[in-house]
């Protein structure tokens, strides 16, 4: 039967050609064009000569841009780490919830996906700004504490100074963690949910406590899930554009913001293309690292 399926070449082509053509026309060709631009020069407002120069890459490796690359890596790394620290217990809790609770909890994790990123980010601004809910809550606590101090005869705390939670690096990281947390929780959940429960029970049975069981049994066995969670969080965080744009200050721009500026305001497509490809190469390195971990753990069974 397999033979006949492969022999039916017309049917096979009818199914395979459209998606391949689609990928070729709308993914590979534009990528190739941008790649070619990265070796070109601006010769007029809209004309680019493909001169084969490496000048764009040389410029992209100047300390100014390297620093932004480095900073993007740090911000994405911190975001990923925070997502892992927050996401692991969440994923564990969902995996161990009753089947009914499980679907509700998963729904709650997915819910933000159904809302536009722009709206979510503006909502976060409303929460974090000086006249926002975090500061309201802190002010309320502050005033009560101050009132209490007066009551017991101590010096009151004075006027509440609202915290500056927006337009800085902290805001960017808060925003990125908020946006990317589901990307971390879902692969972790699927790895933990698949795990043989009797392995954890065996660990408890042999005298290990719960934390020890998580560290010695659950984490090593969930390693492939953790690796793909890290990757799937790190890559979009590295290329984040909207969040640093809206929540970040002047000094918290990430590489995607710089690239955007080259393509739009600076109208320097060749340089933007070079930066884009450098970012993509970084991504490839991350993917290769994850594949390496995956293969290693698969070999182990």
């Amino acid at each position: 039967m397999e033979q006949t399926w492969k022999q039916a070449k017309a049917a096979f082509a009818a199914i395979a050609v459209p998606p391949i053509a689609w990928l070729f026309l709308f993914f590979l060709v534009p990528m190739a064009v941008i790649w070619a631009y990265s070796f070109g020069e601006n010769t007029g407002p809209i004309t680019i000569d493909l001169t084969g120069t490496f000048a764009n890459y040389v410029r992209a490796l100047e300390p100014l841009y390297l620093q932004i690359f480095w900073k993007s890596l740090i911000v994405a790394g911190i975001t990923t780490l925070l997502c892992l620290i927050i996401g692991f217990p969440v994923a564990l809790a969902i995996a161990f919830a009753t089947p009914k609770m499980k679907s509700w909890l998963l729904l709650l994790i997915m819910l933000p996906f159904w809302t536009n990123l722009l709206i979510r980010t503006f909502a976060l601004i409303a929460v974090l700004r000086e006249q926002g809910y975090v500061n309201f809550a802190l002010e309320w606590l502050w005033n009560n504490a101050s009132g209490f101090m007066t009551l017991v005869g101590l010096q009151p705390l004075g006027e509440y100074e609202p915290l500056t939670l927006l337009y800085n690096n902290t805001a960017v990281i808060i925003g990125l963690v908020y946006v990317h947390l589901p990307f971390m929780v879902l692969p972790l959940y699927s790895a933990l949910d698949r795990m043989d429960r009797s392995l954890m029970e065996a660990s408890l049975d042999l005298g290990a406590g719960h934390l020890r069981t998580i560290w010695s049994v659950v984490v090593p066995l969930a390693a492939p899930g953790i690796a793909s969670g890290i990757l799937i969080t790190f890559i979009p965080a590295l290329g984040a554009y909207l969040t640093p744009d809206l929540l970040g200050g002047t000094d918290s721009q990430m590489i995607a913001n710089v690239i955007e500026r080259q393509f739009k305001r600076a109208n320097d497509w060749p340089f933007g293309a070079a930066l884009s490809f450098l970012l993509m190469y970084l991504t490839f390195i991350a993917i290769a690292a994850q594949a390496f971990i995956q293969r290693k753990s698969e070999r182990r069974g």
């Binding site: 009797s198 029970e201 065996a202 049975d205 042999l206 005298g207 290990a208 090593p220 066995l221 069974g301």
Partner: protein, 395 residues
């Protein structure tokens, strides 16, 4: 538990297997244990003592609550009602990692990311045993389960049987008071299963630890255990030695679940201290018993007759009337016709149709190489059995 088995006559009981390592004290005591999952009652008011040194089997069909009982003992479930005592101490407040019991899981649950020796050492590390002692005891445990030298392997380099040995070594190395085995042989192939059966019994005698095994396989329970508890729908039906369980079942469920049986419904007509008689319409003849049963006259009872306890004799064509002089010696005789023959090598199974149409199974050992040729299809036969063979069941 239901009433005592009605047809148990202690003088008839097979002498129990010698078990010098079994002590009198109850190492495990279940006191009125009930476990509910929502509205479902998984375990229903079970009271049971397990003695130190026993190889105890919890036997029952799937979903009868035997595994739940085992998991409550290990601490993975907590009873809704009742108390569990280990060495006389209530273990309700003890989490699994603090209980003096260890478990061999059905899936073995060998940690796939650790070497065999690290798997076995895991429990000792948790107990804070020092390095040299760990190494010595791990080697000793691997030797005990015949895995000496395989400590450096990863679990995926082992066969299923070897993985099970790792699980056994990992549990035994902690020298638990009680070893729990959840369906230990179900994942092995037939040959290996037979081998593991005898290895488990000799291992248990060697280490002297109380073993409690959960199984749905009655052959396995009869072959391995010193004592069995049969469970049905959460209720403990009978607790007895394998021999008593098979020969003196206390209910239709046990008679049917353990081994093969011919069951006839009847009415108790006569019940004297030394004899009894049950009228069985399906059998076409009364069943005579050489012992009394404790039942009310005229009450409905069931007669359970094991196939291997029915003898088969040649019968002349047409002699169907119940005349004792036509029949060979024996109290209970009925005529029938062979309808089906299954040759199994060591024995042959026959299916005999009685005059009323009811079919009866009988097993006949092939004592010589020509025994299988004695009877053939559609041959008229007499079925006879000793008056002490049938078990009379009240429920």
């Amino acid at each position: 538990m239901t009433d005592a088995p009605v047809s148990s006559a202690p003088s008839n009981a097979p002498s129990p297997k010698p078990t010098p390592h079994v002590k009198d004290n109850a190492i495990i005591r279940f006191e009125g244990i009930t476990k509910r999952f929502g509205k479902m009652v998984a375990v229903d008011n079970v009271t049971l003592d397990i003695r130190e040194g026993e190889f105890f089997a919890l036997l029952g069909p799937s979903g009868c609550g035997k595994t739940t009982l085992l998991r409550m003992l290990a601490g993975f479930e907590s009873p809704t009602e009742g108390r569990i005592l280990i060495d006389g101490k209530d273990v309700a407040s003890l989490p699994p990692n603090k209980r003096p019991v260890n478990m061999v899981f059905q899936s073995y649950a060998v940690f796939p990311h650790m070497k065999v020796s690290d798997n076995v050492a895991y429990g000792l590390k948790m107990d804070g045993v020092d390095g040299g002692e760990i190494k010595r005891r791990v080697d000793e445990a691997l030797e005990l389960v015949k895995l000496g030298g395989l400590g450096v392997r990863m679990p995926d380099q082992l066969s299923g049987g070897q993985r099970q040995r790792v699980a056994l070594a990992r549990a035994l190395v902690k020298r638990p008071r009680v070893l729990l085995l959840d369906e230990p042989l179900s994942a092995l192939d037939a040959k290996l299963r037979d081998q593991m059966r005898s290895e488990l019994t000799s291992l248990q005698e060697k280490v002297g630890i109380t073993f409690i095994m959960v199984t749905h396989d009655q052959d396995e329970a009869l072959a391995i255990a010193t004592r069995c508890a049969v469970m049905n729908r959460g209720v403990l039906t009978q607790v007895a030695s394998p021999g008593d369980l098979y020969e003196f079942p206390n209910s239709r469920f046990v008679a049917d679940f353990v081994g093969s049986v011919n069951m006839f419904e009847g009415v108790l007509e006569k019940d004297e201290p030394n004899e009894a008689q049950v009228r069985c319409p399906e059998l076409g003849a009364p069943v005579y018993l050489d012992h009394g049963v404790t039942g009310a006259r005229g009450s409905t009872v069931w007669v359970a007759l094991r196939p291997e306890k029915i003898e088969m004799h040649k019968r002349a064509e047409g002699s169907t009337a119940m005349k004792m002089e036509d029949a060979p010696a024996g109290t209970n005789v009925v005529p029938g016709v062979i309808r089906d023959i299954v040759y199994l090598g060591s024995e042959t199974n026959y299916e005999i149709e009685l005059e009323g149409g009811r079919r009866v199974k009988t097993f006949r050992s092939n004592l010589t190489r020509y025994d299988q040729e004695d009877f053939t299809w559609d041959e008229p036969v007499w079925l006879a059995w000793h008056a002490c063979s049938p078990a009379v069941l009240l429920s």
